[in-house]
Symmetry: C2
Subunit: 616 residues, 2 copies
């Protein structure tokens, strides 16, 4: 049976001869969009053949792929398999069907990567005045006004061959004053960097042209560590099981990154060897695991991080397949649950330079909360849990096709309007939809401020079951699953707990800062999740402080933006180090007000001091 | 058949049960001293059993090894093999039978290795004031007045376990301000360094206690690269044959060093993990090969070196089995044929600090010649060839047992006195013996100043053969080989060429310096070979300038001494870098006087301007 490999993720499957690529993709659990049901009509199941033996293009393909066939594009529903083949799924959204808010807000900075290339023509050593190869290169550099402090061993190893094959015309790569690489001939027009946002669930990589500072590519993949545990605690449990497991997790992440890097070659024809600088951010656990640092202290009180220093090591020592002399940089972590990714968030959001009191939230399973301005920054971490990602919610699902992402309730709760990702029949509800639903239920009186679903409303959408009350968002006949999609009392409870954790975080940071909600000039919401939530709904349930929505800004994946800033400009790395040093971590769990505020925050929006929320 | 392994070289052989260890050693081509012929009388064939199954000690062993039997010592001629065994040959001289002048002159310097250990008790992180592990270690160090600039990734990786297992009592190793290692508990009493002199033929390693500065151990082995070529040119030819051959040679040297390091563990019980610093010197070719730098430029005119910078890299990246965080240091090379070993020679000899005009020679296949004082140092390299090592000499041999090492000729050439290494019957003649022989033949008129053996002397020691005249040093009945051991006309020619190369070198350096032999205050002879030559004979043939012998000093292996100095004191490394920068390399081959002086130097002692040798 022929083997079909699906790039970029490298999923493999074996199928019968003459199966279609669409059938093979389903075999490999890849959901290609095939709206027409695989009849060659919608043209959405487009893939690109990297190599392999397929049937010739059909009429349907000629129509849909006019001009693209020569580049290897095919419709997966039309192309039948005659032998082993490798195909590339062009549209990552098709692969994961998950909304990846890849590019976040990024302030403009100069391109100053601390690394540069220079093409030089080197004087050949002569018997009259014998100089070493290293010396003649140094002299040629000095003639260009460049005083290289040292040569890396790698560069020395490559030097003789580069000089010989290049006829003493070479390109020298200099990183922070050190010659780290030499190439024969003139390669000074290619100098790339890769920024990595290593999330617990997703890995995003960005290619930055270090000559122009331009981000020319972004891509993402699922963090394969999820196989060893969905969340950080379960991954650390896995690490505790056996000495070699830390390395297993580390290698899983490295390989996933290497796969993404190899795609860069496939897609942009950028040789991994021309990637000379790498930056990586992640939460403290992801950071530690990636660098092979045991993160188990993060699950035992008081949850100390191991390392809170910037890292600069050769990327090749970690197994990254980029230029052997490239360094990888990570900004410092702040604390056990506020990592280098939070530093990147701050860096990209510029609150460390702001005159205005700003609240920054990066909402996820663990939510990082930062409050302050250029004078003082406080941060804390909230264990918000995975409810906003659809976990522990009866009909919860990730933000993929078929998820209800917007909900509006009218007529006192009797009518529900919703929209789904991909505009298909609903299969469940994702985080932004759940927040909308609860906010709308509260607004229309379907739940009270304790989150209890009101009884005796005469509303057929309120159902009574053995496990409690439920509110029907979509009747079974409207859904793709032939079941009512409901919000249960228990679901509401989960969301209350999640939002209470976050609300308690920013309330206590306000207290420590000595400010009230009214003092807030701006709220910045970072992270992919935040991008899709409705600010009004978020304020209604108390997830976000109640300030005018025009002062709430969604920044997208600023962790990735911070990683790109660090890659692009050495001063940004220094700023990141300063940020990490200056941000004050607040251990909210030991605040004497923590429990009172947390229980009050369970209410919708906040049941104790509604309207004021001040601790000034 | 049982397998016997001989340490330190790891030679293995299989022999019948009940063979003696002596028989096994011969099977493995190891020459153990057994003067009595293996009858248990001389007690010289002493070895130490590391493990294995041997017959119980005999009466002879009880007598010779009183008190040593319990430490595993045995006589190889007595102990019979009952099963697999590993034995250690204690006396290296027994193994190679080659005189290894391991420890050379070494000036006293302070112990200032730039690396130190400190035992600290670290505050446990508390919830009230959570700090990272790194921070609490930094604070404990600051309390001791130590401001560590950074942590290596290796140290961070080891930190959590060390803290946990040590109950927050750990030992921190700091190298040039960077925390490079952490251990649980107090290991601050062990801090070792290894200095390596990587010669083309021999590798010497020294263990220095970096707490006291004391050299506690020295050992040597044959450089296994000899398998790929006796001299540098043939090794480079091998490298040119295939891309992977450079790495093969590199790994051969690394493995030989690792074997010597593993012996340190066997002999001194010093864990390789407590070796935190390594230094290495060698000629430019050995240096380049060791670091994986292609040395092929060294065999093509104008013979440029690739690297002339100091090297500091992690020893583990090269495959050395020492502490994973240890750095290896090499001083710079000066030129293609004046390497880091010559820098080490200068450093140890202190001519760079001398007020007196000094000539330093390190005589070998390639002879490094340095002339100068604290104001100016000139150097050159002379292609002296392997004649002084006994190669290309009919009865030439290395300085091992049975080699004639001293010759005196009396009675106008009729009587010859000689002594051999080990005082055995002669088997051949080594370098110091050849120099003696030729000087004595010249002194007694057996050869003229052109090096021609005189005819018509009526001396039966002058023989006439189809290949020319010969002078008999030892009659067949005196020798161990049942042949006359002679010096042939051709041998004399080889020695003339070798000494002329060296003489031309120092004569031209004197010219470039603007000095004459009379201006020389001192001659320093470095290297193992030099240690055994007779200064009077060396002056007679013109190998050394004619100054009073009390101003000729033999320093032994100063390359090794320089390596130890660099290991022991960071200022010495800086001095070595300064030396390499300031020494002026003279390409003598392009001097207009080169050919004239070379041909004159072929004479004994110098036939053109005898007595003056001045170019002032």
């Amino acid at each position: 049976m022929p083997t079909i490999t699906f790039l970029p993720d490298g999923l493999k499957t074996q199928v019968d001869i003459e199966s279609t690529l669409l059938e093979a993709s389903r075999e490999a659990s890849i959901q290609l969009p095939a709206i027409c049901g695989g009849r060659g009509i919608c043209g959405k199941c487009r893939v690109r053949t990297v190599k392999g033996n397929l049937t010739p293009p059909t009429e349907a393909e000629n129509m849909h792929l006019d001009g693209l066939l020569s580049s290897g594009f095919r419709l997966a529903c039309q192309a039948r398999i005659l032998g082993d083949a490798t195909v590339y799924i062009q549209d990552r959204a098709s692969l994961t069907k998950q909304k990846l808010a890849i590019l976040g807000f990024e302030p403009n900075v100069d391109t100053k990567p601390g690394i540069f290339k220079v093409y030089i023509e080197v004087e050949k050593p002569r018997l009259k005045n014998v100089k070493s190869y290293e010396s003649v290169v140094r002299e040629a550099l000095l003639n260009r006004g460049i005083d290289a402090s040292s040569f890396s061993l790698e560069a020395l190893r490559k030097l003789p061959r580069a000089l010989k094959e290049g006829g003493f015309k070479i390109t020298v790569t200099i990183d922070e004053g050190e010659v780290i690489d030499v190439d024969k001939g003139d390669t000074s027009d290619t100098l790339y960097g890769v920024a990595i946002d290593l999330g617990s669930t997703k890995i995003a990589v960005f290619v930055v042209d270090l000559l122009t500072g331009e981000t020319i590519y972004g891509d993402g993949a699922i963090n394969p560590q999820v196989v060893y545990g969905e969340d950080i605690v379960s991954r650390i449990s896995y690490i505790l099981e056996a000495d070699e497991n830390l390395e297993k997790l580390r290698v899983a992440a490295v390989e996933a990154i290497n796969n993404l890097v190899s795609e860069i070659y496939v897609k942009l024809n950028i040789d991994p060897n021309s990637i000379y600088k790498v930056s990586l951010v992640g939460n403290t656990a992801m950071h530690h695991i990636f660098y092979g640092i045991d993160p188990t202290s993060l699950v035992y009180s008081p949850y100390p991080a191991v390392s809170v220093s910037p890292i600069r090591v050769k990327a090749s020592t970690l197994g990254l397949k980029v230029n052997r002399s490239a360094y990888i940089y990570s900004p410092p972590n702040i604390a056990g649950f506020v990592g280098a990714d939070a530093v990147a968030d701050i860096l990209a959001s510029r609150i460390h330079e702001s005159d205005e009191l700003t609240l920054l939230l990066d909402i996820g399973t663990n939510t990082e909360i930062i409050l302050g301005d250029k004078h003082l920054l406080l941060c804390c971490s909230a264990a918000s849990g995975p409810a906003f990602e659809g976990m522990q919610i009866r009909y919860g699902m990730k933000a993929v096709e078929g998820a209800i992402e917007r909900v509006r309730i009218f007529d006192g709760g009797f009518r529900v309007d919703y929209s789904t990702i991909g505009s298909t029949k609903p299969r469940g509800i994702c985080g932004s939809g759940i927040i909308d639903a609860i906010a709308e239920m509260f607004r229309t009186g379907m739940i009270d401020s304790r989150g209890m679903i009101e009884a005796y409303t005469g509303n057929p959408r309120v159902k009574y079951t053995s496990s409690g009350r439920e509110f029907v968002l979509a009747w079974s006949e409207e859904t793709a699953i032939n079941e009512d999609i409901v919000i249960s009392q228990r679901d509401i409870r989960e969301i209350q707990k999640a939002k209470a954790a976050i609300e308690t975080g920013w309330l206590l940071l306000l207290k420590h800062y000595g400010a009230s909600v009214e003092d807030l000039s701006k709220i910045l919401v970072a992270g992919a999740f935040g991008t899709y939530i409705d600010p009004e709904s978020a304020k209604t349930i108390g997830l976000l402080p109640d300030i005018p929505s025009d002062r709430i800004v969604f920044l997208g994946n600023t962790a990735g933006s911070g990683a790109r800033l660090i890659l692009k400009n050495v001063d940004e790395m220094m700023k990141a180090v300063d940020i990490a040093k200056s941000v004050r971590y607040v251990e909210i769990a030991i605040d004497p007000d923590f429990h009172r505020i947390y229980f009050s925050s369970l209410g919708i929006p906040y049941t104790e001091v509604r309207g004021s929320k001040s601790f000034k």
